[in-house]
């Protein structure tokens, strides 16, 4: 189960509204390499994960991704909250505005609603951990593209923090893959299933 801490993992304090930036940052909320998919991926995989180290890592990284989902949602909200209708129109968010107002809804940068096909949970620990390595790299690249598109330090700093977390998670999942491979190569009396 979970309990809620009433603070963000890293502060989001964006002075200037910017619907154009909200339009692309939202992809890390509900897009193909976003935090919602990441969280669901690891929290689903953990049920069939093996070795104490890899089970804990899926559980805890999946939990941290929920905190990142909250950070990205906070960014989208603050970028939209005080935006004028003119700014929304100029920023290419008129379509979003008629469907969701200044609220937060899980879609990709291209407007595609969140889809569970963005993630896999295969019931096979080698498959799942290998997927996670790719997933962390895809998210890292997405944050780098977002940083390239941003010019406001209030936006860039949290994006840099989130990018760094992808690098750390990649490292931890890499260690898990090695631990699981070593474990499966030992002469155990049972196979991975």
């Amino acid at each position: 189960m979970w309990t809620y801490d009433k603070f963000l993992q890293y502060p989001i304090k964006i002075k200037n509204p910017n619907p154009e930036m909200a339009k692309i940052i939202i992809t890390q909320y509900g897009g193909p390499d976003g935090e919602l998919g990441a969280s669901l991926r690891y929290l689903s995989q953990r049920f069939s994960m093996i070795t104490p180290q890899a089970i804990a890592t899926c559980n805890d990284v999946g939990t941290e991704e929920l905190a990142h989902l909250e950070m990205v949602g906070a960014m989208v909200r603050q970028l939209m909250k005080n935006a004028t209708l003119e700014e929304i129109q100029k920023g290419g968010m008129a379509g979003y505005y008629v469907d969701h107002g200044r609220g937060v809804y899980p879609i990709s940068a291209a407007g595609v609603p969140f889809n569970a096909s963005y993630l896999q949970s295969k019931g096979d620990p080698i498959v799942d951990l290998t997927e996670n390595l790719a997933a962390e790299q895809k998210a890292r690249a997405t944050y780098e593209y977002l940083i390239n598109m941003a010019d406001d330090p209030d936006v860039i700093e949290p994006l840099k923090f989130l990018r760094e977390r992808e690098v750390v998670h990649y490292q931890r999942f890499g260690e898990c893959l090695r631990i699981v491979q070593d474990y499966l190569q030992e002469p155990h009396l049972f196979t991975m299933r």
Partner: protein
Amino acid sequence: MKNKMELLKLIVASEFMKDDLALFLNTHPMDQEALSKYNFYVMESKGLKESYEMNYGMLSEHNSLSPYPWQWINNPWPWEYDANFNLDKEGM
């Protein structure tokens, strides 16, 4: 007495050290140095949260005492501009 945002900044930093060390310890459970650092930050953030909550309101859903009336519903929530501190990069 530290003000609300100064204290929150210390809590967020201490909590982050815990988060990151815990992930490291998951794959390095025998690392004694990392473990004692983790235990240090557990104690530190406990103390910081206690003094925050005594003065500025509830931080966690089921582990904080509430004065009357029930404080949990108080604004601001973490995703709001006013709930967050400015990160002074040199100062931290």
